[in-house]
């Protein structure tokens, strides 16, 4: 359970903005293991989303190295990289990006079919994923027939379908109410308790507190990496 799923080694990202160079992420070392639920927090422009894009192999680092499930991303061809992403990583975004013309089941089946999984098998895996998020009875509904919370559950099922073990989420609860947002956290928690990995960018401390690790970014640097506290240790602010 301790294998490293995602690793940044001196990975940085610099953008050119006119004549100026903007450091979105300073050289960063980070290891995220199987079973880890990691939240990334920080003010806007602190590098949260950049870090998520690097971890997901969606963006190349300016310097350093990104490893996903043991594969050095830079050593892969674009085709291999796309295949690695499809097989290893699911993305959950605030904007759900479910395809409106497809049912919940078809939405979840789609990434498997794109990966060449046979229809029957894909359908079975998709139904299992929907079952894990308690959405199997809505399998035949179209996205606009579902509530916001239900759509987000389908999005998580799609992200976690098949063999994918890593979920990368950017503000995954978006405009959902508190109780529905907590339900989404419970799903991510369960994914990690089952040996999966989740990295979630959020500005919401209450949601971040569901994670085992909370990483704070400031000006493109990690300034704190808070791991779940030993319950026997009293901490400042803990009056009781």
């Amino acid at each position: 359970m301790t294998e490293v799923m995602l690793r940044l080694e001196g990975a940085s990202k610099t953008y050119r903005q006119g004549p100026a160079e903007v450091v979105a992420l300073a050289p960063t070392d980070l290891s995220i293991r199987a079973g880890d639920f990691v939240a990334v927090m920080g003010p806007s422009g602190s590098g949260k989303s950049t870090m998520l894009l690097l971890l997901g192999g969606l963006s190349d680092p300016t310097t350093g190295r990104v490893t996903i499930d043991g594969h050095d991303v830079a050593s892969l061809t674009p085709r291999q990289r796309a295949a690695l992403r499809r097989r290893s990583i699911g993305f959950v975004f605030q904007e759900l990006n479910l395809l409106p013309g497809l049912t919940a089941l078809e939405n979840v089946t789609l990434p498997l079919e794109l990966d060449g999984v046979r229809f029957r098998q894909a359908r079975g895996q998709a139904l299992a994923a929907l079952e894990r998020v308690e959405m199997d009875r809505f399998a035949d509904r179209f996205p606009d027939e579902l509530s916001g919370g239900q759509r987000q559950r389908v999005a998580i099922a799609r992200a976690a379908v098949g063999p994918r073990r890593v979920l990368l989420a950017d503000e995954p609860t978006g405009a959902l109410d508190t109780v529905t947002g907590e339900a989404v956290m419970r799903l991510l928690r369960a994914h990690c308790d089952g040996g999966g990995t989740a990295v979630m960018v959020t500005h919401d401390a209450r949601l971040a507190s569901w994670a085992d690790r909370v990483i704070f970014l400031q000006d493109g640097r990690i300034v704190d990496d808070a791991r779940d506290a030993d319950p026997s240790v009293l901490l400042p602010g803990d009056a009781r």
Partner: protein, 184 residues
């Protein structure tokens, strides 16, 4: 003050003896507030002296059971009817520390904010995990108490965010944070 009113509230439900009052108080306040039996005894004595409770029978010591009197009930109703006033606010050590840090020489305010933030997040993680283990059906007071603790910690975190943003805008956080690399 609250132990006194807490005992009145419990006795309004049914007559109880000392140990039942102690257990009831702790259970109903989500185990957040331990009271010792001596405190319950002495509070009961004062309530009896003030005519707010009376013994129900002739039992002695711990076996003695108490019930609410008419004036006890009126005082309890009055307590429930009054909103809890946070004005003036209770002293807030974090707020005072941060306010004094702003403009103090040799204080890295950004680091102070960040350390506080990390400490609060750890506390919040603990509350969240504890709350997940509770059963809303059978442990509702503890669930509600954890909601309160979580939301208060969240409020402090949001205040820290706001402080950072304001200080940054006014150029009062000029010193860059010294980044520490995470443990691999």
């Amino acid at each position: 003050m609250s132990v006194r009113n807490g005992l009145l509230a419990l006795l309004a439900e049914e007559p109880r003896h000392c140990y039942a009052l102690k257990a009831g108080f702790e259970e109903r306040t989500g185990q957040a507030w331990r009271v010792n039996i001596g405190q319950v005894y002495s509070t009961l004595e004062r309530l009896e002296r003030d005519g707010l409770v009376e013994p129900t029978g002739s039992g002695e010591g711990a076996a003695r059971s108490y019930q609410l009197t008419g004036s006890g009930l009126r005082q309890l109703q009055e307590w429930f009817a009054q909103p809890v006033m946070l004005d003036p606010p209770p002293r807030d050590e974090l707020a005072i520390k941060l306010l004094l840090a702003v403009g103090a020489p040799q204080v890295d305010v950004l680091q102070l904010i960040q350390r506080q933030r990390a400490a609060l997040i750890r506390v919040l993680q603990r509350y969240t995990h504890q709350k997940e283990l509770l059963d809303e059906e059978t442990e509702l007071p503890s669930v509600l108490l954890h909601d309160s603790l979580i939301l208060n910690a969240e409020a402090q975190l949001r205040w820290l965010d706001l402080c950072e943003a304001r200080l940054r805008r006014r150029g009062l956080l000029a010193r860059p944070a010294t980044g520490t690399e995470p443990a691999a």
